[in-house]
Assembly symmetry: C2
Homo-oligomer: 378 residues x 2
């Protein structure tokens, strides 16, 4: 039997906060189709979401515990969570992948919130969603994206403990860089070696690992590895989202292979100083745009192609809010953020640096072991 | 610069087949928001889809090459693909995450197909999709789910070569089971050890690894590992979806720890014989439901909680079609399928077995090294 990642009290607290927000917004229920939201309220954690075949539904009423409306294949695992009302359908089904069961469940509510705004997706066939709303002619569907952001962006002590653990694992992996990476090694081998290192250090999984290498910088920050071999003068960047118990770290490190040019050293120092400036500004009551300003002041340039200089972190590699010029979300104690300044170096090259912090009443706590201003040389 | 997984000829062929199907269905363009579909037509491969922040769009016109409408952060990587028309927007954006740019692009077409049926999702905010369709009052959106299934379910020679490689890696990993797993080992340690083994054998990543262990069977087939320790009499099952170059294997193996009861031995033999029966029935012209019948005849029972006895395999862990009683999809040469019989053992326990095959004109090719009827003992 699966072991819950949290005691029931954690889920009771999440539900209590959600139901308070629902009352404030006049919502009778929340409706979800996506992994993070189902897991947030139930603890239901499985890699089975990799299969697009079956939809999964969760209804969170304004009073009472959440109701799972899920494929039969998930009944055994869902029974290990704190939920009591688990309704299952046979899936795949020739004609009705849960729509009737879901419509029955939702028909009890007049106004239903679901995330349809920024960063949301509809993880069920649009055809089925249209059928559902047609059957629920008297139900109003409202956007609950902001409500969910407000709930999820502030982490509990238990969530922060898990985030601290996986960030520690990431830091321990990067600390071994000098023994893992070397000139002449292909990027594919670099990635493979680092994945194995993170698993050895205690990560459950490494769902995200991207990076690049090049003379004096790299071209982007989202690419898979190639057969390109590390050469003297390269800057190697690895950005990792490893997980443990379903929580992510998300930070990167830069390494100079053989040695670094003055330009690369200056860029690295500027990136680290931008993080320091953002951390100094990260207090309850300041805003995401304040952190953005703190970083761009140090960088002397805007964010370029990446579009932001950090974001929320937790059950997903990236969560709301975004550290942009226009995101005025106010920081609150126990928000977990990435600070991720990037800098264009001309000639199509760039560098990026990233740390993970918890907003505290005072100086933030670094979850990742902060990098030095001096770029490490391998 | 990223190295394409395929030469341009592969994408030209995919486009040619798609455009033929679009003409037959009277579609002026196809529109996609999801990873597999974007990658199918472009070769754009990145783990950055882990971040839910930014939507990504692809438009495939009835004539001419696909058009990417994507966040600026992806421009550099998309430029390494065969696409020429790459339109980018700044993201996240305060008010317009690509909707205007996408509406401009789609306004050229009268009838646009998109997958809205079985197994599909809408990976963009529903609010933005509604805005898009409101702006395109003269554009008809039609369901292209079946069209996409017909295209993707038959694999090219190059795709089959990649699938053969990753299935070989999975088989090599399982072949070392006796040296990897042992009595007293926790399931968490079993999973960690097997992930590392698959990476060592050459996998790029192990996005899917589930399993279970128990006396005489296990409770479900989608659970993450626990601290439970392997004991004599346990049946250990591991089901892995490892990837290389973006293609998945998906098969499992059962191991008896210490020894197996007669019941477990009989169940394992029955599962392997069910695979053999399905493989014997797997010929061009037979249907998914024929394979289902071949397996249930051997098993002496229906599929139970899982809902099907196999599925398509390729760029995703599970693809259409499904091996069910009601899926009458006709098998065609070069379809890649998993054969995945499962059996209830009473007392809430079950066992499952899975192999990966290519449908050939004659006997199918096994991509996974087939298991013996006798359950292996560790």
């Amino acid at each position: 039997m699966a072991e819950p990642d949290f005691p029931e009290a954690e889920f009771e607290k999440r539900l209590e906060r959600a139901q308070g927000a629902m009352r404030a917004d006049g919502l009778d229920a929340l409706f979800f189709t996506t992994e993070a939201e189902l897991r947030y309220f139930t603890g239901f954690r499985t890699l089975f979401w990799q299969s697009p075949t079956r939809p999964w539904f969760l209804v969170v009423p304004a009073t009472g515990k959440p109701i799972a409306v899920i494929p039969q294949i998930g009944a055994h695992l869902m029974a290990s969570t704190w939920l009591e009302d688990i309704r299952t359908f046979s899936a795949p089904h020739p004609t009705d992948d849960g729509v009737s069961l879901l419509a029955d469940c939702l028909s009890a509510y007049g106004k239903v919130g679901m995330p349809i705004g920024r960063e949301s997706a509809l993880r069920m066939p649009l055809r089925d969603f249209r059928e559902l709303t047609a059957r629920l002619a008297h139900t109003e569907f409202a956007d609950a994206s902001d409500l969910m952001m407000r709930l999820r962006m502030v982490k509990s002590g238990r969530e922060i403990a898990l985030l601290r653990e996986i960030c520690g694992i990431g830091s321990a992996g990067f600390a071994n860089a000098a023994s893992l990476f070397h000139e002449g090694q292909s990027l594919k081998e670099v990635f493979r070696t680092f994945r194995i290192e993170l698993l050895r250090q205690g990560a459950d999984d490494v769902p995200y690992l991207v990076g690049g290498a090049g003379q004096g910088g790299y071209g982007d920050v989202i690419s898979p590895p190639t057969d390109q071999k590390l050469e003297a003068g390269d800057v190697l960047m690895l950005d990792t989202g490893a997980t443990k118990n379903g929580y992510f770290c998300d930070f990167d490190r830069n390494f100079a292979i053989g040695g670094a040019s003055d330009e690369v050293r200056a860029a690295h120092e500027k990136l680290v100083r931008a993080v320091e400036a953002a951390a100094a500004a990260a207090r309850p009551g300041s805003t995401c745009s304040d952190l953005f300003s703190a970083m761009t002041t140090v960088l002397g340039q805007q964010d370029g192609d990446v579009g932001r200089l950090g974001h929320g972190l937790g059950m997903q590699l990236t969560e709301m809010p975004s550290i942009t010029s226009f995101d005025t979300t106010e920081l609150r104690e126990n928000m977990v953020l990435t600070l991720e300044p990037s800098i264009g170096l001309g000639n199509g090259k760039m560098m990026v640096h990233e740390e993970n912090i918890v907003v505290r009443d005072g100086a933030p706590e670094f979850l990742s072991t902060p990098a030095f201003r001096e770029i490490p040389v391998i």
